[in-house]
Symmetry: C2
Subunit: 217 residues, 2 copies
């Protein structure tokens, strides 16, 4: 491993923030390498940075704070990634599907971060809610996209928030199961994602008699 056993040189006077950045970077690297937050230990991070464990606490309140900071960093790109899909099409229904695909892709691209924010058990702290804030923005944007699809007549009118919630939970279901049960005999992820997106969207009504492209065997 990349152990920096050699003590890191003392930081110059003004730069207390610098260590914070190095800790964050090391933690990010370790979380990515192990794929498991429990494998990322305060002691391990300290060692990778070349510092002693208590030094971490000068910049982060506790381990959760550090982990959330790492995930928060990644999730700042979350809403951007989803919003970017809006430019790919003018059809608001197709836009919903593209958004769904982007959601799942983002989760699979950052499985550990996704797990920490959406699948972990310590979901009641204020820190967690804070780290999750970008996700809440993304939810609002999903609701907006649903409303646009309704206004355009692409899907049946109804409670946009409820419909957005339903879409979100379904996409989360795909994402989280693909992450946590990699050994299940899944169909090709793309096929599954497209199927769920199609099911969810067309299930909302739309032009009557639409035939669903259920991917046959």
């Amino acid at each position: 491993m990349n152990r920096a056993r050699d003590r890191r040189p003392r930081a110059p006077r003004g730069s207390g923030e610098r260590l914070r950045g190095e800790i964050l970077a090391a933690a990010t690297r370790l979380l990515g390498a192990t794929g498991d937050e429990d494998e990322v230990s305060i002691r391990g991070v300290a060692d990778a940075v070349g510092v002693t464990p208590p030094a971490i606490y000068l910049h982060f309140a506790d381990k959760d704070d550090l982990i959330y900071a790492v995930c928060s960093q990644v999730f700042e790109m979350f809403d951007d990634a989803l919003e970017a899909t809006d430019t790919t099409t003018d059809d608001p229904v197709e836009a919903l599907r593209a958004r769904g695909r982007a959601y799942v892709r983002f989760g699979l691209d950052h499985p550990e971060h996704y797990r920490v924010l959406f699948m972990s058990k310590r979901s009641r702290s204020a820190k967690h809610a804070e780290a999750l804030a970008p996700g809440m923005v993304a939810f609002q944007h999903l609701t907006d996209a649903v409303q646009r699809a309704m206004d355009a007549g692409g899907i049946a009118r109804g409670d946009a928030v409820l419909v957005a919630t339903g879409i979100w939970t379904s996409l989360h279901g795909v994402t989280s199961l693909l992450i946590s049960m990699p050994d299940f005999p899944w169909p090709e992820p793309d096929v599954l994602v497209d199927h769920v997106c199609a099911t969810v969207v067309h299930g909302l009504g739309g032009p009557s008699g639409t035939t669903i492209p259920v991917s046959g065997h």
Copy 2:
């Protein structure tokens, strides 16, 4: 707490299995009380039973083995609970919806166990797969129910396994998010579950022009 600090009387000769049962019961109780597997410690379980920690290892290989045994116990009722819904209706599409509602209800009734089996990170051990076996039976039965709905013309024909997978992931999405993000402003769980079930099923096609009962506000 219920600490049984007093040493438990020595077990008679033949009854090695008895302690196993007591350990399992204590672990089940502790998991239910704390709602978090990490809060259930070998030392805590041993203390609750009135025995020293190493005694646990006479009956369980390691902590995961114990936790999985606890969850496995609960999940033996899983498939039964879902299959029981089949007797409630003759309409195979309505049967699918009833099955979906039962799935979510089971997850919410046993959140810690559901989390361990479907949302935890140590999902690669043989023990885990074993504990999950009843869930796999339930998946097969879901696939069968989907096939019946297709045969009856209730939903569009297609790959029953893919469709079942899509239904499962969507239901899991609702269940797992309700468990792990209790503070999100969810709609009433029943409303959400019914909405997702309706969306998923009607999204699969069926008689053209079906109007979806999207629950408006």
